[in-house]
Amino acid sequence: MESPAPSDSRGYFLIPQAYEGGGFYVYGTPDKGRGQYAHPKLISALLQVARSWSYLDKRKFGIDNISLSGGEPFNGHRSHRSGLEVDIRPVRKDGNRLPCSIFDKQYDREATAALIALFREHSKVQLVLFNDRTIQGVSHASNHSDHFHVQIAVTA
């Protein structure tokens, strides 16, 4: 399959797919970033958090689905059409770029809490959905044990 266009009909851009200088990697279905078209404010937030994270930890965190080109309905998601929502993998102890649930031995609660705290410190973040209730500032939602969902506001 061809690589996706770097920008879509809304003028939203794919997030960097090989951002080696900062603290994140990308993954997800569909692949090649086809589900990672982001509102400019979300790109700014992700780069800012990734930069702060890279000072704290050498492991990279995983960025999953954001929105499809043009904001088309995203199968498997009830939202993710605005480019303002992003899913993030919990941090693994081994740092491998693999799935991780809060029930896995590899789940690094402390590091994940630190990462979520960085997101929450960002002024535009308005909601974090995640099922580890020991972490402050997150709301419970079904099927959010293997990723946390971050939503930012357009104005804040």
Partner: protein, 130 residues
């Protein structure tokens, strides 16, 4: 005049009767015979969670369905009432869930539904995340 009054009364009675019949017809259950119809949708076979799906394995295989169009509309209409959903709050999207079946009406008026099954156990599971 008596005749005019009678005529008016009769006309009004017929009108009310007609309206009553129409209203009753509108409330009546659909009488169309059930039949299978084609629908618009997609599916994904995977392992682990629908929020971070991986290729299916011999001992872990699940399926998620995403339904659109008329079938989704009929599902949504049958699943009242709306619920408050944290991930769509404030977006004008209306969400209805029953068990692991989730349907929504988009701001545009389009309908979408999702549900899934664990293919190793047959159990119903969710077909979508936030």
């Amino acid at each position: 005049m008596p005749r005019t009054t009678a005529t008016t009364f009769t006309f009004r009675s017929l009108l009310l009767l007609s309206l009553g019949i129409c209203a009753a017809a509108g409330r009546a259950p659909q009488t169309a015979e059930p039949e299978f119809k084609r629908f618009d949708g997609s599916y994904m076979v995977y392992s682990l969670g629908v929020g971070d799906p991986q290729p299916a394995k011999a001992d872990d295989s699940k399926i998620a369905f995403a339904i659109e169009g008329e079938a989704a509309r009929k599902m949504f209409d049958s699943m009242a009432p709306d619920i408050r959903d944290a991930c769509t709050a404030g977006s004008a999207i209306r969400v209805r869930t029953k068990g692991h079946v989730s349907c929504q009406r988009e701001k545009s008026g389009e309908h979408r539904c999702s549900f899934g099954f664990d293919l190793r156990t047959g159990k119903s599971i969710s077909g979508s995340v936030c």
